[in-house]
């Protein structure tokens, strides 16, 4: 069989972590190949090696049967390899043309850029591959879908034959995903090779010809897509059968604990993000929020947790309104990004365990921090939540992701607030840590807390939630009972295809 890419026995370590461990990876020319695996399985590392960003510690790379060394991205580009990164590598203040030609500029003898010629080339490319975009527009004015087109045009402009796309879909609307898949099929029919990194198995089934599954730095299997199923892939990815539903013991109470009334809020860019939104969560209830990234769910959470001022409406917790008061609302908040938001990585475990609680009378007076109380608090929580290693004065940076999340959960749940907001609480965690997070949330549900859960993982939402609200463009499109719905149905609502009441 003729492979256009053949990576053999690739190993790569980062400090203690074996990101890739003897990986064999091959793709045929003219196919769409899916590379799947959980976060941290080593997909991105492997592709960064193929794109010349990282050098493998061991192993070799063959392109069209020829041994190659890819020391830099420039080298990879010269072999016709192109990559669209998960976070777009675009420069917002430059135009589409400038972004596309950067590093590969057409210039006159003196180094002047011939922009009209470049624009013409780009227009031709965008016609040929049906990727409409205005070459003179500034990238910051484009929608996410359009920006992705610019990224693809960047590759085509460099005559890329092998296109690597790192998780291209989470930021897209369903229509945009459909268009993207059209484009990819188009590429295939023109003989180009596409590698799609994803962990959405439905996409794998929908578009790929073959698939490689990775787990913990190793390749588990490589199969043709037609000869496998979504369930089997899921099993291979996580290493055990996925349990889809959990049995919830007690029904929610009828008393609403968290009430959001007519809240509107703006995004950081001063665009309306939440529009006149109302919801209520009872004690002992988990309300899930399903939405594609950027539909106002982050802003809604910020309003409820007191981090963002709404332009209208109010948040009521246990009958008390929390917008006018200067005090932060009594909400346990498990934020989206551990290292960025939830923790001060260079603080010790003890210090992190009082972040946001440090103003409580227990822990500090106006001119004093009660260090003994801080330490005894840490000692207790480390034990209860089994944080490892149990060393109070260790900097949190040195903990594993799962234990870092435990620090956050320990701190937030020990507030004993009536409302819990969990935003992507399991992102990037291994299976055991995920289990820990899920059981913690379910336990708090039994304790009568009102829980708001935002997750892009629909399986997780279906497993944990009592009801699921679907947000689209800042509004709640519908609220459904979790046990009466499916991923597919949620998907339809998330796209905004069906409006409320329709």
């Amino acid at each position: 069989m003729m492979f256009s890419i053949n990576m053999q026995h690739i190993s790569k370590r980062f400090g203690n972590l074996r990101a890739n461990d003897g990986v064999n990876f091959s793709v045929q020319q003219g196919e769409i190949h899916a590379l799947v695996g959980e976060n941290g399985a080593g997909k991105s590392t492997l592709m960064n090696i193929l794109y010349g960003i990282h050098q493998p510690d061991e192993g070799s790379i063959l392109l069209n049967e020829n041994l190659v060394k890819l020391e830099t991205p420039a080298r990879a580009i010269s072999f016709g390899i192109g990559m669209v990164h998960q976070h777009f590598m675009l420069i917002p203040s430059l135009t589409v043309t400038e972004n596309i030609i950067l590093g590969n500029e057409l210039t006159s003898m003196l180094g002047f850029i011939n922009s009209s010629e470049a624009e013409r080339t780009i227009e031709q490319l965008s016609d040929r591959y049906r990727l409409p975009v205005n070459p003179r527009a500034r990238v910051e004015s484009l929608s996410v879908g359009q920006q992705q087109r610019v990224e693809l045009l960047k590759l085509l402009y460099r005559n890329a034959e092998i296109l690597i796309l790192d998780e291209p879909t989470p930021v897209l609307t369903p229509q945009e995903v459909e268009e993207l898949f059209h484009t990819l099929n188009n590429f295939k029919s023109m003989g180009k090779t596409v590698i799609l990194i994803t962990h959405k198995l439905s996409e794998v089934m929908a578009i790929s010809n073959s698939v490689t599954v990775m787990r913990r730095g190793k390749v588990v299997t490589r199969v043709d897509t037609v000869s496998t199923s979504q369930i089997e892939l899921a099993r291979l990815m996580v290493g055990h059968d996925v349990e889809f539903r959990t049995v919830k013991t007690s029904p929610p109470s009828s008393m609403p604990v968290l009430v959001v009334e007519g809240v509107s809020a703006q995004s950081d860019r001063h665009l309306p993000a939440v529009r006149n939104l109302s919801l209520s969560i009872a004690g002992g209830e988990i309300l899930g929020i399903a939405a594609i990234e950027g539909n106002g769910q982050s802003e809604l959470i910020q309003v409820i947790t007191g981090l963002r001022k709404p332009t209208a409406g109010k948040v009521v917790i246990k009958g008390q309104e929390y917008l006018s008061s200067r005090h932060h609302p009594p909400v346990s908040h498990i934020p989206e990004d551990r290292g960025k938001q939830g923790l001060v990585l260079d603080f010790t475990i003890s210090e992190n365990l009082i972040l946001g609680r440090h103003q409580e009378k227990n822990f500090s007076g106006l001119f004093r921090l009660f260090n003994e109380k801080v330490e005894s608090n840490a000692k207790q929580l480390i034990q209860v939540y089994d944080i490892r290693p149990p060393t109070k004065h260790l900097r949190v940076r040195n903990l594993s992701g799962g234990n870092q999340q435990k620090v956050i959960i320990a701190r937030e749940l020990s507030k004993n607030a009536p409302v819990i907001v969990a935003n992507h609480p399991t992102r990037g965690l291994d299976i055991w840590a995920i289990e820990f997070v899920h059981s913690s949330l379910l336990r708090e549900r039994t304790n009568g807390k009102a829980i708001l859960l935002v997750s892009s993982d629909l399986e997780e939402l279906l497993k944990l939630s009592d009801r699921i609200a679907v947000m689209y463009e800042g509004e709640i499109v519908t609220i459904v009972e979790a046990k009466n719905t499916t991923e597919r149905e949620l998907g339809i609502y998330m796209t905004g295809a069906v409006k409320r009441g329709a």
Binding site: R13, K340, L343, V344, L345, F347, G356, G365, L369
Partner: protein
């Protein structure tokens, strides 16, 4: 330590370049600074203002802010110290001295709070604004001193009242005789203790450090970054403003244009060398004090500007060596880990 050693070696090369024997020069340098109580007194006198500006820089660094404005803050502060010292001549010492210092601290605090406010309210970067405030301070004070308050034909203000003067240490310890080291050294040491307590024993210190290490997490933890930013820079300004105690109340007994000679900037070096720790700041200040006074003592052999060169080289080595060493050690650790895995 390595940085200090390397700087002295390079300094030695400079000395060689002008045809002098570096060993002779350095021998004189050290015997003059550390070989007598008088020399030690001079060094401590030079170190005192550096402790204040070092603390000023360090407290801002801890909060993730860059205060290049200590120079302007200490100019304003010291001027006010002198003004209070010569205006309220009827007050007794125990009231007048605290009042003068308070005025200095408040002036410095105001000068620090303005860039703090501009940062908190409008997101204007404090590096540029504190630099600009330095020039504005220098301009305003030079106008006031030359045109309004000067003793004719000089560039300094009138003498402060005798009751505002801070005692020299040679009053208690005659060994220091003749050196200008004075009671403000103890004020500086007290300020170090205060900053230490503030950073690690108070709520505000906890919040300040959280903001410096991760502002997003701090905000998530209910800390108002805007307010803390203003307060931190005001505090940094107040510390810088206290410099006037040493020069005005303790030494010359008047405010003189251009007395600061870059103390504010060297404070940044002190903070870097001390890794923003109050105790380290005392040591680093003494080191820079030795450099400053020592290069004065060897002026007959080598131009005294050697001290500026040495200071700059110490800073450059500090910022590059720490980077370099940390990269090297992590690399070494990785190697060890890999070996043990094989």
């Amino acid at each position: 330590m390595l940085a200090l050693l390397l700087s002295f070696i390079i300094g030695g090369v400079f000395i060689l370049l002008i045809g002098k024997d570096p060993f002779v020069v350095y021998a004189m340098f050290f015997s003059q600074t550390m070989g007598s109580w008088y020399g030690i007194g001079q060094v401590l006198f030079k170190a005192t203002p550096l402790i204040f500006t070092g603390l000023s820089a360090a407290i801002s660094f801890r909060a993730g802010l860059f205060n290049i404005g200590a120079e302007g803050q200490l100019i304003i502060g010291s001027f006010l110290v002198a003004m209070v010292g010569c205006t309220f001549s009827s007050l007794p010492s125990f009231l007048l001295i605290p009042c003068a210092l308070l005025a200095g601290a408040l002036g410095g605090a105001l000068w620090g709070a303005i860039p703090g406010f501009l940062k908190a309210k409008f997101g204007a970067h404090e590096v540029i604004n504190t630099i600009m405030m330095n020039f504005v301070a220098a301009g305003v004070i030079s106008y006031l001193v030359t045109n309004v308050y000067s003793v004719p034909a000089t560039v300094h203000t009138p003498q402060i009242t005798a009751s505002a003067e801070l005692l020299r240490l040679d009053v208690f310890a005659s060994a220091f005789h003749g050196s200008p080291v004075n009671v403000s050294l103890f004020i500086a040491l007290a300020a170090c203790g205060g900053v230490y307590y503030l950073l690690w024993r108070t709520r505000f210190g906890y919040e300040l450090r959280a903001i410096g290490l991760n502002p997003i997490a701090a905000e998530y933890g209910g800390i108002s970054i805007a307010r803390r930013t203003v307060l931190t820079l005001a505090l940094a300004g107040a510390l810088a403003g206290l410099v006037g105690g040493n020069f005005v109340l303790g030494y010359k007994h008047y405010y003189e244009l251009g007395f600061s000679e870059g103390i504010g900037f060297i404070g940044i070096a002190v903070a870097l060398l001390a890794r923003n720790h109050p105790i380290g700041i005392v040591l680093a200040s003494i080191f820079f004090g030795i450099l400053e006074y020592g290069s004065l003592t060897i002026n007959t052999m080598v131009p005294k500007e050697l001290s500026n060169i040495l200071q700059a080289i110490v800073i450059l080595f500090m910022i590059t060596l720490t980077k370099f060493l940390s990269r090297w050690t992590t690399h070494l650790q990785e190697c060890i880990v890999q070996d043990s895995n094989v």
